[in-house]
Structures are given as C-alpha cells and as structure tokens.
C-alpha cells in the first residue's frame, strides 16, 4: 500500500508539473522576433550550432536592436524532420509572432515550411530551395537560389574549364542531391559531355562497396552526399583504388571534419561555394577573424568551418537589413518589398534578389590542395554576379 501511495505521489507530481508548465506559457512580447528553424538533432545536427552562432554574430552588428525595438531571435529544432519543422514554424509564427523565418538547411524540411508560410505570407529567408517554390513577388527568398543552379555551374566548369568528356555520377537518393546533379548533368551534356552512369544510393546506405564495384570508368566522378555519407564514400572510393578526379557537383559540404577524418584522401576534390570561409580575400579573412574572436571560448564552433555558416550569416543580415529598411515595420508586405529592393554587401560580394526571390551574387570554384603543409581549399575560379539558378 505504501509503495502504491509512493507511486501515486510520483504520478500526481508529474501531472502537476504539466499543469504548472501549461499555465506558465502566455507571455506578451514587444520585440521584433526572427524565427530560426534549425537542426540540433537529426541528420544535420552537426551544422545547427554554427547557424545559431552566425545569426548571433549578425544581430550583434546592430547592437541587438533596430528602430528602437529589441531584436529577439528564437531558435527551434526541426531535427531535419518535415513534420516537426512545420510544427516549429507554426509555433514561431502563431505563438511567438515571428516576422521572418530563417532556415532550415534541409530542403526536405524547408519546402513544407515555405508551403505553410504561404498562408500568412511571412517572408521565408533560406539558403536554397527547389524551383517550384519560387513565384513572382513570392514570400520565399533564397540567396543561393536553386540547387540545380549550383549544380549547373559546376557541370559547366567541369566540361568547359576542366575539359572532361565523360562522367560517372553517384549521389544520395534525396531531393536536394537529385537537384544538384540534375543541374550538373544538364550543363555537362549541353557542353557535349557524356554521362556513362548515374547511381542513386538510398539514404540508409552504410556500405558503399557494392556501388563502387559497380561503378563505370570515366574521365571524372561527379558526386554529392550529405556530409556523413560523403566521408564514407570518399574513403571507400579511395579503398577501391579509383583514380578518377572527384568533383562535388553541388554546394560544397567539405569542411575541416573531412580533412581530419580523411587527410590526403581529400586532395584534388573540386567543389563550388557562393560564400566560404576559406575564400582568400581580405573581407572574408576579416570576417573569419571576427568570428574567431567572438567564439574563441566556444571550442566546438571556434572556426566558422563551412560555407553554410557564412550562408546563415548572410541570411541573418538579409532579414535584419530588411527590417532596418522598413524602419521596424514588420508587416509581411513591407518586408518583402524591402528584400526585393535590397543590394546587400557581404564579405563574399554583393547579394540581391530577382523578382522571384532567387539570389544573385558571386560564385567561387574551390579545390582541396596542400597549402604549405596544411590541407585546405584554394580558389581556382570566380564568377561575378551570376543568377544562382538554371536560366
């Protein structure tokens, strides 16, 4: 009996806990809210912390307030899970009254969020999205345009500048990889190149051996995997003794993690980035320095590490500049207007939008090389002010 009463105790305390929490959640707020759907768990958990930091850095540049109103950034974890992400976006808009939504990284989760935001018209500032989501004067702003865009640029470079004639293609069986490679293949074939094989590997693939032993020979191997898969793939690729040059036929995901995990195996890999910390210009160097000073004490993010971090910084800047331009008017229409008229200067060059929310700006081709004994990226080509999609 006493045991049971003890259990009752536990039961009742748990219940009451819930009621306390349930009651304690109605707070009014005046500040301008920026909603950030990120990934702290799930397949992109690695990037999450960098993104939040990037936004923090950007907000700091405005002293945390615009037009006398505090800027409040609310981070929500979508766990790369479309259902959950939409839930979180819903919470940010309906409960926290967010006037802009940033993120998430995973197009699979970002797309449905755009779909949801369409109802209310709240601007959705993201990195990149598949074509169907962009409409004239829409609410979607992707400064890196469409995945197929970056893929296209890469395919063009491989065919024209590197002059490869045949290519074998392998990538994750997931929407954004699909888009990247569609673009790359389109460009490569337009330039007279020939695709000898295309392999799609399921997202739950653990062992790439079978695909590699089935891989056909060609001048070059175009690939794109999410970071965890890329590491396994590159390693196995080398194990199977392939000599074809590796080209990351889409946005660069190679980071220091790769250099640690794979060492010399990464040498010669070519990739594309619109904004990468490794780009060798004074502005970027200065920005990286600023980052390192701010987060020196947080060792896991002490270096911006990857292009996506910079992309997030740019997104935050875009949102904040828009709010600044409207002088604190956070109505969706005002913000959209401001974003369409924007020409933002970033360490990676100016960024602006076409009338359908697709970004315009510079693009850089990078290659992994050994620079005075240290493995890192070196810039091999730069494109000025290109529309970041397949025209």
């Amino acid at each position: 009996m006493t045991r049971r009463t003890k259990k009752n105790g536990i039961a009742i305390s748990i219940l009451s806990l819930f009621w306390i929490l349930l009651v304690g959640i109605s707070f009014a707020k005046d500040p301008i809210v920026i909603g950030h759907v990120t990934d702290l768990t799930g397949t992109s958990a690695m990037e999450g912390p960098y993104f939040s930091a990037a936004i923090e850095l950007a907000v700091e540049e405005y002293g945390g307030e615009i037009a006398g109103r505090e800027i409040k950034v609310i981070h929500e974890d979508g766990g790369s899970n479309p259902t959950l992400s939409v839930d979180k976006a819903r919470k940010l808009v309906e409960k926290d009254k967010a006037s802009v939504i940033i993120g998430p990284i995973n197009a699979g989760a970002a797309s449905p969020i755009s779909g949801y935001l369409k109802r209310s018209g709240v601007p959705h500032v993201v990195m990149e999205l598949p074509p169907p989501l962009f409409e004239k004067n829409g609410h979607v702003f992707a400064h890196q345009g469409t995945q197929s865009g970056s893929g296209y640029l890469m395919g063009k470079y491989v065919a024209e500048d590197l002059g490869y004639k045949t290519a074998t293609v392998i990538h994750d069986d997931v929407i954004f990889a699909e888009e990247f490679l569609n673009g790359a293949i389109k460009a490569f074939e337009e330039a007279g190149g020939k695709i000898v094989q295309r392999q799609r590997t399921p997202m739950n693939t653990m062992d790439y051996g079978p695909y590699l032993s089935g891989m056909k020979k060609a001048d070059v191997c175009l690939f794109w995997f999410v970071p965890p898969h890329s590491i396994n793939f590159i390693k196995s690729y080398k194990e199977y003794g392939f000599e074809m040059p590796l080209v990351l036929a889409g946005l660069n995901i190679i980071t220091n993690h790769f250099f640690e995990a794979l060492g010399k195996d990464t040498l010669g890999i070519t990739a594309l980035s619109y904004n990468d910390p490794s780009i060798d210009t004074p502005e970027v160097k200065a920005w990286v320095k600023k980052w390192q000073e701010k987060f020196a004490d947080k060792k896991e993010i002490s270096h911006p590490a990857m292009g996506m971090t910079c992309a997030w910084y740019v997104q935050a800047k875009l949102a904040l500049e828009a709010i600044k331009a409207t002088g604190g008017d956070t109505s969706p229409d005002a913000l959209k207007k401001a974003l369409y008229n924007m020409k933002l200067d970033t360490p990676w060059g100016p960024v602006s939008f076409k009338d359908n929310g697709i970004g315009i700006g510079n693009a850089y081709i990078l290659q992994v090389a050994e620079i005075d004994g240290k493995i890192g990226f070196k810039q091999v080509k730069k494109y000025e002010n290109i529309v970041r999609t397949v025209e």
Binding site: T201, T205, P210, G214, P227, P228, A261
Partner: protein, 288 residues
C-alpha cells in the same frame, strides 16, 4: 563474371559484420528471451570508443578489443540494472531498450557532435587487391578472414565450454537449465555482456567502412533483427548463414537493381518467414 565475384566478396565482407552484430542479439533472444533494441547502440558505442582510441594513436587491433570491452561493460550494466528485472515482460523490455537508444544516441551527439566520425584501417591494409581489371580493398578481405575465425571461436565456446552447455540448455528449456544447479542469472548476465562485447568489436571493425555517427543504431538494429529472424534465434550456425545470405543479397541488389536496393533484404526476410517461420536453422517455431 569477375564483377559478380567482386559483388559476392562485398556481400561476404558485409555479411561478416552483420554476423558479429547479430550473434549477440540472437543468443540473448534465444537463451534469455530478452529483446535488446539497444543492440545497435552498443555497436555505435564500440565504434566511438574505437574512434577515440585510434585518433589518440592507439594500435588499431587494441582499439578493436577495448571497443568491444567498452560495449560489453555498458551491456552488462544495462542487463544488471534494468533488463534483469524485466524478465519475460517484452513490452517493458522494448520500451526500456528504446529509451536507452534515445539516451545513448543523444549523448553521443552531445559528446562527438553530429559529424560522422571515421578512421582508417592499419596502413599496411590500405591497399586494393587487383582481381581481373577490378580492385578489391585488402581490409575487406581481412574482415572476411576475421569473421571466419570469430565464427570458429564462438562455435567452440557454445559447443565445447561449460558456459556454452548452459547456454544451449537455456535455449531448450529455461527451467531445466536453472535446475542444473548452475548460477543461471549470472550466466545470463555473462552471455548478455559477451554478446555486447562481440557487437562492440563489430562496431570498431566496421568503422573504417561505414563510419560512426549518432544516427546509426536503429539502422544497425534492423539489419541485426532481420538476420536473427532469418537465421532462427539462438542458433550460431543459423545466424552465420543468415548474415551471409543477407549480406550477399544486399550487395547484389545494390549492384544490379539499385532502385530496389532497399527492399531486397526485406523480400528475402518475408520469403523466409512464409516458407520457414522458424528461421533457416531455428529449432522451435518462433513464439516468444
């Protein structure tokens, strides 16, 4: 033809890993009737321990051993503290072990971050053997050999040692085994820990091929469970056979019908269930 042979080799090497993963699950299930859904998590623990050691310059094979021990210890604790109190309560076992999976996964995300960790096999194994005009990594060949050795050892343990005899007795009749006057609960803990240990070994051995990442436990578990059911729980030979079959089917599927790669093993799985519900080498019909 050579290509086909290469794919078979791929399948066998993957099958060996599957065998090492599944055998622990198979025995704990067959002997103790404990379904440990955290088995995949043990695999990951092994992997992370191995990663930590190797990146700090510990010898690869030593890391393999310690990784196994680490997983074994975690398994032992889980069995002593929790599972031993949930004897014959499947739903609670399931819930508990799932909970452990979530906790372990999130902990490893906390400690090691979301990036996939990977480390290389010993340098002297970092070359590819030429077969016809194809190349096959030496490390995978080593895995095949290792799997064979471990199979023999396991078989000897089960068939020749006292522990093994208790295990086999337990498989046939738990009460009878208890009646043998042996310390049955202790034996169970040991067997459980041993299964975890082997799983941990697999975790380190597989890392150079599949890497280690916080999101892997469930995928691993599924493979292991399919192998266990196809092979028939509690049967070493059955598990081994099933592991090879699944491994080979998996890589053949990936190489020849990539679009159905995800299904091939499930089709085999369901086929076996329909034809031989007890599993390839299963003694009794599966009703836990």
């Amino acid at each position: 033809m050579v290509l086909f042979f290469i794919n078979i080799l791929n399948g066998i090497s993957f099958g060996m890993i599957l065998f090492l993963i599944a055998i622990g699950l198979s025995i704990t299930l067959g002997v103790m009737g404990i379904l440990n859904l955290a088995h995949g998590a043990l695999f990951m623990i092994g992997g992370f321990v191995g990663y930590t050691l190797v990146t700090h310059g510990v010898n690869f094979w030593l890391a393999v051993l310690i990784g196994g021990v680490g997983a074994g210890l975690v398994g032992l604790i889980a069995e002593r503290v929790f599972l031993s109190r949930l004897y014959k309560q499947f739903d609670n076992q399931v819930l508990l072990t799932l909970g452990l999976v979530y906790i372990i996964q999130n902990l490893s995300l906390w400690i090691y971050g979301g990036a996939a960790k990977s480390f290389s096999a010993p340098v002297y194994l970092k070359f590819a053997v030429a077969i016809g005009d194809y190349r096959f990594p030496a490390y995978r060949l080593t895995l095949i050999a290792l799997g064979a050795v471990l199979l023999v050892i396991l078989w000897l343990v089960i068939e020749r040692t006292k522990l093994g005899s208790i295990v086999r007795a337990g498989m046939d009749d738990k009460e009878m085994a208890m009646g043998l006057g042996l310390n049955y609960p202790l034996t169970c803990s040991l067997v459980f820990a041993f299964g975890a240990f082997v799983c941990g070994l697999a975790g380190v051995l597989a890392a150079p091929i599949i890497g280690v990442v916080h999101s892997m436990p469930m995928e691993i578990l599924l493979y292991a469970m399919i192998v266990v059911i196809v092979g028939g729980p509690g049967s070493v030979s059955g598990t081994f056979l099933a592991a090879l079959v699944i491994g080979i089917v998996d890589s053949i599927g990936k190489a020849y019908f990539p679009d159905f790669a995800m299904f091939t093993i499930y089709i085999v799985f369901i086929g076996v269930l329909l034809i031989k519900p007890a599993g390839l080498m299963g003694k009794k019909a599966l009703s836990g």
